[in-house]
Protein backbone atom coordinates (compact mmCIF):
# COMPACT_ATOMS: atom_id res chain seq x y z
CA UNK A 1 0.00 0.00 0.00
CA UNK A 2 1.34 3.42 -0.92
CA UNK A 3 1.94 5.98 1.78
CA UNK A 4 -1.20 8.11 1.35
CA UNK A 5 -0.08 10.42 4.16
CA UNK A 6 2.14 12.24 1.65
CA UNK A 7 -0.99 13.67 0.08
CA UNK A 8 -3.89 13.53 2.53
CA UNK A 9 -5.89 16.23 0.71
CA UNK A 10 -6.38 14.06 -2.36
CA UNK A 11 -7.20 11.05 -0.24
CA UNK A 12 -9.80 13.06 1.68
CA UNK A 13 -11.28 14.17 -1.66
CA UNK A 14 -11.55 10.53 -2.71
CA UNK A 15 -13.05 9.60 0.67
CA UNK A 16 -15.62 12.35 0.32
CA UNK A 17 -16.56 11.04 -3.14
CA UNK A 18 -16.87 7.49 -1.83
CA UNK A 19 -18.91 8.62 1.16
CA UNK A 20 -21.48 10.29 -1.13
CA UNK A 21 -22.03 6.94 -2.85
CA UNK A 22 -21.88 4.83 0.30
CA UNK A 23 -24.44 5.69 3.02
CA UNK A 24 -22.79 3.46 5.65
CA UNK A 25 -19.42 5.16 5.18
CA UNK A 26 -21.08 8.58 5.28
CA UNK A 27 -22.86 7.68 8.54
CA UNK A 28 -19.68 6.35 10.15
CA UNK A 29 -17.77 9.48 9.20
CA UNK A 30 -20.55 11.56 10.75
CA UNK A 31 -20.43 9.46 13.93
CA UNK A 32 -16.71 10.18 14.28
CA UNK A 33 -17.32 13.85 13.64
CA UNK A 34 -19.99 14.04 16.37
CA UNK A 35 -17.88 12.13 18.89
CA UNK A 36 -14.82 14.29 18.19
CA UNK A 37 -16.85 17.42 18.86
CA UNK A 38 -19.01 16.24 21.71
CA UNK A 39 -17.00 13.79 23.70
CA UNK A 40 -19.49 11.72 25.70
CA UNK A 41 -22.65 11.26 23.65
CA UNK A 42 -25.64 9.14 24.57
CA UNK A 43 -26.96 6.70 22.00
CA UNK A 44 -30.14 8.69 21.27
CA UNK A 45 -28.24 11.97 21.04
CA UNK A 46 -25.68 10.41 18.71
CA UNK A 47 -28.39 9.16 16.36
CA UNK A 48 -30.06 12.58 16.51
CA UNK A 49 -26.82 14.44 15.77
CA UNK A 50 -25.97 12.21 12.81
CA UNK A 51 -29.52 12.59 11.45
CA UNK A 52 -29.21 16.35 11.84
CA UNK A 53 -26.13 16.22 9.62
CA UNK A 54 -27.27 13.69 7.03
CA UNK A 55 -31.05 13.68 7.22
CA UNK A 56 -33.74 11.75 9.08
CA UNK A 57 -33.91 8.05 8.35
CA UNK A 58 -30.20 7.73 7.65
CA UNK A 59 -30.07 4.81 10.10
CA UNK A 60 -32.90 3.02 8.29
CA UNK A 61 -35.92 1.37 9.89
CA UNK A 62 -33.94 0.03 12.89
CA UNK A 63 -31.63 2.79 14.10
CA UNK A 64 -30.23 1.02 17.19
CA UNK A 65 -29.01 -2.18 15.48
CA UNK A 66 -27.70 -0.03 12.64
CA UNK A 67 -25.74 2.14 15.09
CA UNK A 68 -24.43 -0.97 16.80
CA UNK A 69 -23.17 -2.27 13.43
CA UNK A 70 -21.55 1.06 12.70
CA UNK A 71 -19.76 1.02 16.03
CA UNK A 72 -18.53 -2.51 15.40
CA UNK A 73 -17.25 -1.49 11.95
CA UNK A 74 -15.45 1.53 13.38
CA UNK A 75 -13.86 -0.56 16.12
CA UNK A 76 -12.87 -3.20 13.54
CA UNK A 77 -11.13 -0.37 11.70
CA UNK A 78 -9.00 0.14 14.81
CA UNK A 79 -10.77 3.28 16.04
CA UNK A 80 -10.86 3.28 19.83
CA UNK A 81 -14.44 4.04 20.83
CA UNK A 82 -15.44 3.58 24.45
CA UNK A 83 -18.79 3.46 26.19
CA UNK A 84 -19.26 4.99 29.61
CA UNK A 85 -22.04 4.28 32.08
CA UNK A 86 -20.57 6.59 34.73
CA UNK A 87 -22.85 9.29 36.09
CA UNK A 88 -22.34 12.56 34.22
CA UNK A 89 -20.44 11.00 31.35
CA UNK A 90 -22.81 8.44 29.90
CA UNK A 91 -22.51 7.45 26.29
CA UNK A 92 -20.03 6.75 23.53
CA UNK A 93 -16.74 8.62 23.40
CA UNK A 94 -13.43 8.52 21.57
CA UNK A 95 -10.88 6.88 23.82
CA UNK A 96 -7.46 8.34 24.49
CA UNK A 97 -5.99 6.36 21.56
CA UNK A 98 -8.18 8.30 19.13
CA UNK A 99 -6.63 11.66 20.00
CA UNK A 100 -3.61 12.96 18.12
CA UNK A 101 -0.29 11.38 19.08
CA UNK A 102 0.91 14.70 20.44
CA UNK A 103 -2.05 15.02 22.82
CA UNK A 104 -1.88 11.35 23.81
CA UNK A 105 1.80 11.76 24.70
CA UNK A 106 1.09 14.74 26.97
CA UNK A 107 -1.77 12.96 28.76
CA UNK A 108 0.08 9.65 29.17
CA UNK A 109 3.13 11.46 30.51
CA UNK A 110 1.03 13.39 33.03
CA UNK A 111 -0.71 10.22 34.23
CA UNK A 112 2.67 8.52 34.64
CA UNK A 113 4.17 11.44 36.53
CA UNK A 114 1.39 12.05 39.04
CA UNK A 115 1.91 10.21 42.29
CA UNK A 116 -1.73 9.53 43.18
CA UNK A 117 -0.82 8.03 46.56
CA UNK A 118 0.95 11.24 47.47
CA UNK A 119 -2.02 13.17 46.13
CA UNK A 120 -4.26 11.22 48.51
CA UNK A 121 -2.14 12.55 51.37
CA UNK A 122 -2.26 16.08 49.92
CA UNK A 123 -6.04 15.76 49.72
CA UNK A 124 -6.14 15.34 53.50
CA UNK A 125 -4.87 18.91 53.92
CA UNK A 126 -7.39 21.72 53.91
CA UNK A 127 -7.83 23.68 50.66
CA UNK A 128 -6.49 26.71 52.53
CA UNK A 129 -3.33 24.80 53.46
CA UNK A 130 -2.87 23.72 49.83
CA UNK A 131 -2.93 27.34 48.67
CA UNK A 132 -0.52 28.25 51.45
CA UNK A 133 1.81 25.57 50.06
CA UNK A 134 1.79 27.34 46.69
CA UNK A 135 3.19 30.49 48.25
CA UNK A 136 5.71 28.50 50.31
CA UNK A 137 6.93 26.86 47.10
CA UNK A 138 7.32 30.26 45.47
CA UNK A 139 9.24 31.60 48.48
CA UNK A 140 11.45 28.51 48.50
CA UNK A 141 12.17 28.81 44.75
CA UNK A 142 13.10 32.46 45.25
CA UNK A 143 15.42 31.62 48.16
CA UNK A 144 17.17 28.91 46.10
CA UNK A 145 17.51 31.31 43.18
CA UNK A 146 18.91 34.03 45.44
CA UNK A 147 21.38 31.64 47.10
CA UNK A 148 22.58 30.50 43.65
CA UNK A 149 23.07 34.09 42.59
CA UNK A 150 25.06 34.86 45.75
CA UNK A 151 27.24 31.77 45.19
CA UNK A 152 27.97 32.82 41.63
CA UNK A 153 28.90 36.33 42.76
CA UNK A 154 31.21 34.97 45.51
CA UNK A 155 32.97 32.67 43.06
CA UNK A 156 33.47 35.38 40.46
Amino acid sequence: MSDWKTNPTLVLQLLDYEARRNPALRRRMAILDVLARQGFTRREALIGAVEAQLGAGVFGASPYPCLWNDMRALRDAGIAIGYSRAKGTQGYFLRLESLSEEVQTVIRQVMREIDFEHLDRVAQASPERRVEAVFEMIDFAQEVSQAGRQDRERNR
Binding site: K87, L96, I107, M111, E113, I114, D120, I138
Partner: protein, 187 residues
Protein backbone atom coordinates in the same frame (compact mmCIF):
# COMPACT_ATOMS: atom_id res chain seq x y z
CA UNK B 1 3.76 37.14 45.33
CA UNK B 2 1.81 36.82 48.58
CA UNK B 3 1.85 40.54 49.16
CA UNK B 4 1.01 41.33 45.55
CA UNK B 5 -2.04 39.04 45.60
CA UNK B 6 -3.15 40.34 48.95
CA UNK B 7 -2.96 43.97 47.78
CA UNK B 8 -4.73 43.16 44.53
CA UNK B 9 -7.63 41.52 46.35
CA UNK B 10 -7.85 44.52 48.69
CA UNK B 11 -7.99 46.76 45.62
CA UNK B 12 -10.92 44.77 44.22
CA UNK B 13 -12.64 45.10 47.57
CA UNK B 14 -12.02 48.86 47.80
CA UNK B 15 -13.33 49.41 44.27
CA UNK B 16 -16.28 47.12 44.87
CA UNK B 17 -15.29 44.83 42.00
CA UNK B 18 -16.60 41.27 41.89
CA UNK B 19 -13.83 38.76 41.21
CA UNK B 20 -13.01 35.08 41.33
CA UNK B 21 -9.61 33.43 41.65
CA UNK B 22 -8.95 30.83 38.95
CA UNK B 23 -5.90 29.27 37.30
CA UNK B 24 -3.20 27.51 39.25
CA UNK B 25 -4.14 29.06 42.60
CA UNK B 26 -7.68 27.68 42.25
CA UNK B 27 -6.42 24.33 40.98
CA UNK B 28 -4.07 24.18 43.98
CA UNK B 29 -7.04 24.93 46.22
CA UNK B 30 -9.08 22.08 44.72
CA UNK B 31 -6.29 19.71 43.73
CA UNK B 32 -2.51 19.67 43.86
CA UNK B 33 -0.41 22.67 44.94
CA UNK B 34 2.08 23.84 42.35
CA UNK B 35 4.27 26.87 41.95
CA UNK B 36 3.35 29.66 39.55
CA UNK B 37 4.59 33.03 38.37
CA UNK B 38 1.22 34.63 37.97
CA UNK B 39 -2.31 34.56 39.27
CA UNK B 40 -5.39 34.26 37.07
CA UNK B 41 -8.56 36.03 38.03
CA UNK B 42 -11.94 36.75 36.49
CA UNK B 43 -13.64 40.05 37.22
CA UNK B 44 -16.67 42.12 36.34
CA UNK B 45 -15.37 45.47 35.13
CA UNK B 46 -17.26 48.09 33.12
CA UNK B 47 -16.26 51.30 31.41
CA UNK B 48 -17.11 53.39 34.48
CA UNK B 49 -15.20 51.28 36.96
CA UNK B 50 -12.13 50.67 34.77
CA UNK B 51 -10.45 54.14 34.86
CA UNK B 52 -10.39 54.46 38.69
CA UNK B 53 -9.11 50.89 38.94
CA UNK B 54 -6.32 51.62 36.44
CA UNK B 55 -5.45 54.80 38.32
CA UNK B 56 -5.29 52.94 41.64
CA UNK B 57 -2.90 50.38 40.12
CA UNK B 58 -0.74 53.17 38.74
CA UNK B 59 -0.65 54.84 42.16
CA UNK B 60 0.78 51.62 43.54
CA UNK B 61 3.42 51.90 40.79
CA UNK B 62 2.12 48.74 39.16
CA UNK B 63 2.25 48.39 35.42
CA UNK B 64 -1.15 48.28 33.75
CA UNK B 65 -2.01 49.25 30.18
CA UNK B 66 -5.12 51.50 30.10
CA UNK B 67 -5.66 50.62 26.42
CA UNK B 68 -5.40 46.87 26.99
CA UNK B 69 -7.72 47.18 29.98
CA UNK B 70 -10.36 49.16 28.05
CA UNK B 71 -10.15 46.72 25.14
CA UNK B 72 -10.80 43.83 27.54
CA UNK B 73 -13.71 45.74 29.12
CA UNK B 74 -15.31 46.51 25.75
CA UNK B 75 -14.74 43.22 23.92
CA UNK B 76 -14.19 40.75 26.76
CA UNK B 77 -10.79 39.18 27.13
CA UNK B 78 -7.81 39.65 29.37
CA UNK B 79 -5.47 42.33 30.59
CA UNK B 80 -2.57 42.09 32.96
CA UNK B 81 -1.29 43.94 36.00
CA UNK B 82 2.20 43.53 37.38
CA UNK B 83 4.23 45.01 40.16
CA UNK B 84 7.50 44.68 38.27
CA UNK B 85 7.90 41.03 39.18
CA UNK B 86 4.62 39.29 39.88
CA UNK B 87 1.80 39.32 37.39
CA UNK B 88 -1.96 38.93 37.45
CA UNK B 89 -3.82 37.92 34.29
CA UNK B 90 -7.32 39.28 34.61
CA UNK B 91 -10.17 37.97 32.49
CA UNK B 92 -13.09 40.39 32.07
CA UNK B 93 -16.26 38.38 31.73
CA UNK B 94 -18.26 40.99 29.79
CA UNK B 95 -20.61 39.28 27.34
CA UNK B 96 -18.97 35.88 27.73
CA UNK B 97 -21.64 33.24 28.38
CA UNK B 98 -19.28 30.89 30.15
CA UNK B 99 -17.77 33.73 32.17
CA UNK B 100 -21.22 34.80 33.33
CA UNK B 101 -22.26 31.27 34.29
CA UNK B 102 -18.96 30.56 36.02
CA UNK B 103 -19.39 33.75 38.03
CA UNK B 104 -22.80 32.64 39.25
CA UNK B 105 -21.18 29.43 40.49
CA UNK B 106 -18.17 31.03 42.21
CA UNK B 107 -17.58 30.14 45.82
CA UNK B 108 -16.39 31.89 48.91
CA UNK B 109 -13.47 30.09 50.46
CA UNK B 110 -11.06 30.96 53.21
CA UNK B 111 -7.80 32.34 51.86
CA UNK B 112 -4.79 31.85 54.10
CA UNK B 113 -3.15 35.08 52.87
CA UNK B 114 -5.33 37.33 54.92
CA UNK B 115 -7.46 34.87 56.82
CA UNK B 116 -10.34 36.48 54.99
CA UNK B 117 -12.87 34.88 52.75
CA UNK B 118 -12.05 35.18 49.04
CA UNK B 119 -13.98 34.26 45.93
CA UNK B 120 -12.85 31.26 43.88
CA UNK B 121 -14.13 29.81 40.63
CA UNK B 122 -15.76 26.43 41.26
CA UNK B 123 -13.58 23.34 40.62
CA UNK B 124 -15.65 22.56 37.49
CA UNK B 125 -15.11 26.07 36.09
CA UNK B 126 -11.41 25.92 36.94
CA UNK B 127 -11.20 22.76 34.81
CA UNK B 128 -13.23 24.28 31.97
CA UNK B 129 -11.01 27.37 31.86
CA UNK B 130 -7.99 25.12 31.44
CA UNK B 131 -9.68 23.08 28.69
CA UNK B 132 -10.84 26.25 26.97
CA UNK B 133 -7.47 27.93 26.69
CA UNK B 134 -5.68 24.76 25.56
CA UNK B 135 -6.82 25.37 22.00
CA UNK B 136 -6.46 21.66 21.19
CA UNK B 137 -2.80 21.67 22.25
CA UNK B 138 -2.78 20.87 25.93
CA UNK B 139 0.12 21.81 28.14
CA UNK B 140 1.19 19.19 30.62
CA UNK B 141 0.82 21.58 33.57
CA UNK B 142 -2.87 22.16 32.74
CA UNK B 143 -3.54 18.46 32.20
CA UNK B 144 -1.86 17.68 35.51
CA UNK B 145 -3.92 20.34 37.29
CA UNK B 146 -7.12 18.86 35.86
CA UNK B 147 -6.17 15.28 36.76
CA UNK B 148 -5.36 16.39 40.32
CA UNK B 149 -8.72 18.17 40.70
CA UNK B 150 -10.47 15.04 39.39
CA UNK B 151 -8.66 12.94 41.96
CA UNK B 152 -9.05 15.20 44.98
CA UNK B 153 -12.61 16.35 44.32
CA UNK B 154 -13.63 12.87 43.15
CA UNK B 155 -17.39 12.37 42.90
CA UNK B 156 -18.20 15.88 44.05
CA UNK B 157 -17.65 17.21 40.52
CA UNK B 158 -20.55 17.94 38.19
CA UNK B 159 -19.18 16.08 35.14
CA UNK B 160 -22.26 16.86 33.02
CA UNK B 161 -21.58 20.56 33.42
CA UNK B 162 -17.90 20.20 32.45
CA UNK B 163 -18.83 18.08 29.42
CA UNK B 164 -21.35 20.66 28.23
CA UNK B 165 -18.82 23.49 28.24
CA UNK B 166 -15.97 21.34 26.94
CA UNK B 167 -18.12 20.65 23.86
CA UNK B 168 -18.83 24.37 23.47
CA UNK B 169 -15.11 25.10 23.49
CA UNK B 170 -14.35 22.24 21.06
CA UNK B 171 -12.52 20.35 23.74
CA UNK B 172 -15.05 17.52 24.13
CA UNK B 173 -12.65 14.92 22.76
CA UNK B 174 -9.78 16.18 24.92
CA UNK B 175 -11.95 16.06 28.04
CA UNK B 176 -13.20 12.54 27.20
CA UNK B 177 -9.65 11.35 26.46
CA UNK B 178 -8.28 12.80 29.68
CA UNK B 179 -11.07 11.31 31.76
CA UNK B 180 -10.55 7.98 29.99
CA UNK B 181 -6.83 8.02 30.82
CA UNK B 182 -7.53 8.98 34.44
CA UNK B 183 -10.13 6.24 34.93
CA UNK B 184 -7.85 3.64 33.38
CA UNK B 185 -5.04 4.73 35.66
CA UNK B 186 -7.34 4.28 38.66
CA UNK B 187 -8.50 0.77 37.62
Amino acid sequence: MKEFVSRLLRLFHTHNLSYAIGGSVASSHYGEPRTTQDIDLSIVLDETAAPPFVLACEQLEWYISPQETMRAVQDGGTFSVNDGFWKADIFVIAGDAFGIESFKRRRQEKLFLTGEIAWFLSPEDTIIHKLRWCGGKPLDKHMRDIAAILHVQNDRLDLDYITRWAVTFRAGDLWAGLLDAYRRRQD
